[in-house]
Point group: C2
Chain length 322, copies 2
């Protein structure tokens, strides 16, 4: 989504964000710098900076003042990614050079902390305590979500509510906060800030559901990871929840999914059943519903060109087929 | 140092901090709560809260307003401890239940992040941007220090400067910031804030050098970990640096220390040589020097009873023999 026309109104600012991301991890420590540079180079869609910038763009032509915030938001996202990547036992079993792995683990943790602290410093530079409070609250909820995600693996008895709360913490919250903070530093009225916060929230939900669908249907090469990796890791997503309720073989499906060995060895069977069940279509409907809800919030916002972009981004998110 | 008379002027507030620490990790998530409660119960000297409170006490009788800050400082310290404890490969090799270990690893990381975010929220409640900036800067430097410590293991070519910078980041910085922040929220003059920042810095340096000495000479039971654990892990401390320069067997010592296997298997020999070299006495002198420097800063502070306590704490730190 980077080379994505809908971000065009802030493409100049996004280029500056990209350069600033590299500058902001400029530490005299080679290890730290290597780890952090690797993270920045790994790229990503820079969605959070884009949403902060686009949200601000609704209220003023110039959004240069949003750039440090946009960088901070991406750094927070990167910090959570690097911590997620910390090697767990299972990947170590496959590994050879254990010393290297151990260093990798610790470096990942400290690099994540460093990048997060760097983002705090950027946010503090606005000298606005309300911004920090929003971020601190979101950070706590995101951490809770990560623990929830961890605990919910292989649990076939979880409900829709568990899933929704998890993707809220995992994805929707930081996108929501990105829109909200972009507005908070741009003379938006309180009701407009709230509308953007909700826009980002619903859009984030739609985005994550689409992502969870793609784990079943996307091309492996484009996805950047094997199809079905959620299933293999025991992550129960919306299509799976649907299949667990409606597929004729649901009991057997539950058995395979609740054990880490069978989830791995029988992944192909599980994926087939999920697709057969109509879980993909169900999840697609849910994603569209959230996208429409996000678009519904736009009526509270100024009628400027960028509002149409925000509208179209929500549509695009549900149909993207990479 | 908790049941320590020199903290008496703020003992009531420290008791409230202790209770608040438990309340502040009150999350609906059992795993997170268990991990965090375990951390709080593990205790610790609550040095950072004590220094924030004592520093504030120089300027006013009531220091209740410092309690949230004191809690935040201890939470930041706890967050760094839980991340330090993340199991590395070597401890995993010994372990049996690898799944449990993997969960432990991830939970540690997320619990650390959660506790850190909680502390941010407490600091943000002061609505003082300058406080947040001080903490963000300190956090970045502490992370850099953790990476440096990791990279410096088994490196016998490091100099005194490397060691001092490392203990500055590891210990002195957060104690320094605790004193500084206690003063910043308590009507201290800028020159007094600076004096307390420096007092905390020098005291923290003295404290860590003493800690590094204790790894050679303390009673294992009181230390809570095996004597010589730094040597075994390749952590080069001040007594070792001295021995590497002055012991007749310094070349052989360097050889043993620069390899993780011999550092472990020949730890007793290494410890003997370090003690023989006079490295302990040298480090003790250095610790005393820093303690005196910290006491020197007290002349800029109000002549109230608690100033004597701060003076005596610095003396105590160099002579404590548990």
């Amino acid at each position: 989504m980077t080379d994505f026309d809908l971000f065009a109104p802030v493409s100049r600012e996004l280029a500056i964000v990209e350069a600033d991301l590299r500058n902001n991890i400029n530490t005299p420590l080679p290890t730290m710098k290597d780890a952090a540079t690797h993270l920045v180079k790994a790229g990503g869609k820079r969605l959070r900076p884009a949403f902060a910038l686009l949200s601000a763009r609704l209220f003023s032509e110039s959004v240069d003042h949003v750039i440090p915030m946009a960088v901070a938001l991406e750094l927070i996202h990167m910090a959570s990614l690097v911590h997620d990547d910390v090697i767990d036992d299972s990947s170590m079993r496959r590994g050879r050079s254990t010393v290297k792995h151990a260093w990798g683990n610790r470096t990942s943790i400290y690099a994540g902390n460093y990048v997060f602290a760097r983002s705090l410093s950027l946010v503090a530079s606005y000298e606005r305590n309300d911004l920090m409070q929003v971020l601190a609250d979101a950070s706590m909820q995101i951490c809770e979500g990560e623990i929830r995600q961890m605990m919910s693996c292989y649990n076939v008895n979880q409900g829709l509510k568990d899933y929704l709360r998890r993707i809220e913490r995992k994805t929707a919250l930081l996108i929501s906060v990105s829109c909200q903070l972009g507005a908070m530093i741009s003379q938006a009225e309180p009701y407009q800030i709230q509308a953007l916060r909700r826009y980002g929230y619903y859009l984030g939900m739609s985005f994550q559901i689409t992502d969870d669908i793609l784990d079943f249907v996307a091309d492996e090469e484009i996805l950047g990871k094997p199809v079905g990796s959620d299933v293999r890791q025991g992550v129960i997503t919306l299509p799976v929840l649907y299949a667990l309720r409606y597929h004729p073989q649901r009991d057997e499906l539950a058995r395979l999914l609740s054990d880490s060995e069978t989830a791995l060895s029988e992944a192909d069977q599980i994926i087939d059943w999920v697709i057969e069940s109509g879980g993909i279509e169900y999840a697609y409907e849910a994603s569209c519903k959230y996208a429409r809800k996000s678009q519904g919030q736009l009526r509270y916002l100024p009628e400027v060109k960028v509002r149409d972009n925000l509208h179209d981004i929500a549509t695009f998110i549900t149909v993207r087929n990479y």
